[in-house]
């Protein structure tokens, strides 16, 4: 067992990472799965489900990005193990693998602009710096990016850490070298341009930080709209994975929707998403006769999370919170957009305790949540799907973002 698991068990808790026990990363490439061949093109980059930098990730989708000092073609660095996340907005890099010297952006008062990024399970702290981003043939100039764990700003403000969870300021605690947030929205905090939002952006000297407003242009933001072409959204396509799982899975992240021959909408169904409100960016799921209006489709979640008391929960404490049906079962649900269009979907739930420890991709991995109205369509949803994410305000042949289509 891994220390993280032992720690979790000692605390009597259950967490997603408890699954680390079933995955040691890597594994034989012979049992890897590859997506249907998409011709190499300037708008396609490989995405891989693998063990990640710590070797213990499960159902985590990674890619590689190259970043440069703004305007430079030589002061550049290529960084792998970047999480691909449709549930956040903007590129965030852990500083430990980073060797480039990047200037920190200024807050409105001239001090350094530093951000507290709040995830559901914890928070990440670090300054905002501009850099050029290159992914496959696409380039984005001077994009604000968060540098997580920058030692120039060592003290996390108490209202940031008071949002709870784990401090995720190292590769070990973050589970990646960074995260590429390519969800439906442009910026991570549009409200911050109009008022001071607690525990979000800060103006910092070397010794003290105060909450501050930030103009939209200086906020950490989705890099895709910065691309010269193929900038209206993304498509993630992953192959089907057998119920027993796979050591690794390779698929594609395609930039642009209806901009090239390889990113056509075709017959995909468009589900628009709310731009604001309690479920901004989310969908509604109808499951077991319940209407779950706090649902979302998210490549950054490593399982399907929903509540169904009829499915056998895992008995062992190390898999607490996950489902362990004796036989893999298939279920039906309906996902509905804000445009009242709905799509029937099926999904499988397997026995989490029987998953191979050398695998990293499990299509049947599902866990419980009793958060009211929630159905989290995590990475298992993306297997055998082609999921398009159209960015707010951008148009495709199928409609205007923000929407999700599959």
């Amino acid at each position: 067992m891994r220390p993280a698991l032992l720690q979790a068990l000692r605390n009597g808790c259950m967490l997603v990472i408890c699954l680390s026990a079933i995955s040691c990363g890597g594994g034989s490439s012979l049992s890897g799965v590859s997506a249907p061949v998409i011709p190499p093109s300037s708008n396609v980059v490989d995405v891989v489900v693998g063990g990640g930098p710590n070797g213990n990730s499960v159902n985590s989708l990674y890619t590689t990005v190259t970043v440069c000092v703004p305007g430079s073609t030589t002061l550049c660095q290529t960084i792998d193990n970047i999480l691909v996340d449709t549930g956040s907005y903007g590129l965030r890099l852990l500083v430990s693998p980073l060797t480039l010297s990047l200037p920190v952006l200024a807050a409105a008062d001239g001090n350094a602009l530093v951000e507290c990024t709040i995830f559901v399970d914890g928070y990440s702290w670090g300054p905002v710096a501009a850099m050029d981003i290159h992914i496959t043939g696409e380039s984005a100039s001077s994009v604000p990016v968060q540098l997580i764990g920058d030692t120039r700003f060592p003290t996390v403000p108490s209202d940031c850490s008071s949002t709870g969870g784990t401090a995720e300021n190292t590769v070990a605690t973050f589970g990646a070298n960074g995260v590429l947030g390519i969800g439906v929205f442009l910026q991570d905090c549009p409200d911050c341009s109009a008022s001071v939002i607690p525990a979000f952006y800060y103006s910092c000297t070397s010794t003290a930080c105060t909450n501050t407003m930030v103009a939209l242009a200086s906020q950490v933001q989705n890099p895709v709209p910065f691309f010269v072409t193929d900038n209206n959204g993304t498509i993630i396509t992953l192959p089907a994975v057998v119920p027993g799982g796979a050591a690794s899975v390779t698929g594609s992240l395609i930039f642009g929707i209806d901009t090239e021959s390889n990113n056509q909408s075709g017959s995909q169904t468009v589900l628009t998403v709310p731009t604001s409100g309690a479920n901004a960016g989310g969908v509604t799921t109808i499951f077991n006769g319940q209407t779950l209006s706090a649902s979302f489709i998210d490549s950054g979640s490593n399982a399907l999370y929903f509540n169904d008391s009829s499915i056998t929960p895992c008995a062992s404490s190390q898999f607490a919170g996950f489902y362990c049906p004796v036989i893999t079962s298939t279920f039906g649900a309906t996902i509905q957009g804000a445009n009242a269009i709905s799509v029937p979907v099926t999904f499988s739930v397997g026995d989490a305790e029987t998953l191979s420890q050398s695998f990293t991709a499990f299509p049947g991995l599902a866990g419980t949540t009793t958060v009211a109205g929630s159905f989290d369509w995590g990475l298992p949803f993306f297997y055998n799907h082609r999921v398009a994410t159209a960015i707010e305000g951008f148009t495709t042949s199928a409609g205007t973002g923000p929407y999700i289509a599959f």
């Binding site: 967490l15 990730s57 969870g165 607690p198 479920n279 706090a294």
Partner: protein, 145 residues
Amino acid sequence: MLAGTAAIAMLLPCLASAALGEPEASVLADGAQLQGSIKVSDQASYRLHEIQLPSGTLVREYAGLDGTVFAITWHGPYVPNLRQILGRYFDAYVAAAKAPHADHHHLQVKQSDLVVEASGHMRAYNGHAYLPQAIPGGVSVGDLP
């Protein structure tokens, strides 16, 4: 001036005491600390205090007939100050949550005396925290709005 300072210092521990597991009156402290407006409504087996935060997030605190807050939920674009609303349970929650992983959009801490679950993504967060042993009979946490 000195007397005034002393009075404020004496008040602070009261204002800082948060709601989960505390008497209902602590909801006022949460509302003040979070600069929210509070609406109260009586249900059959609990009293619901809704704190609307200026950021748009809605915090709901549920007090049983004995006056103790047994559950809290939050929905909205920003995670509220959980140290404030979880109070003395905050440290136990953080300690239990510590484990490195790459999934940043789901959290579940289940202990015999404390459950914290959260779900969501950037700009839309949902979560709840409750004390399993303090839930009034007939109340199902999943049904709490």
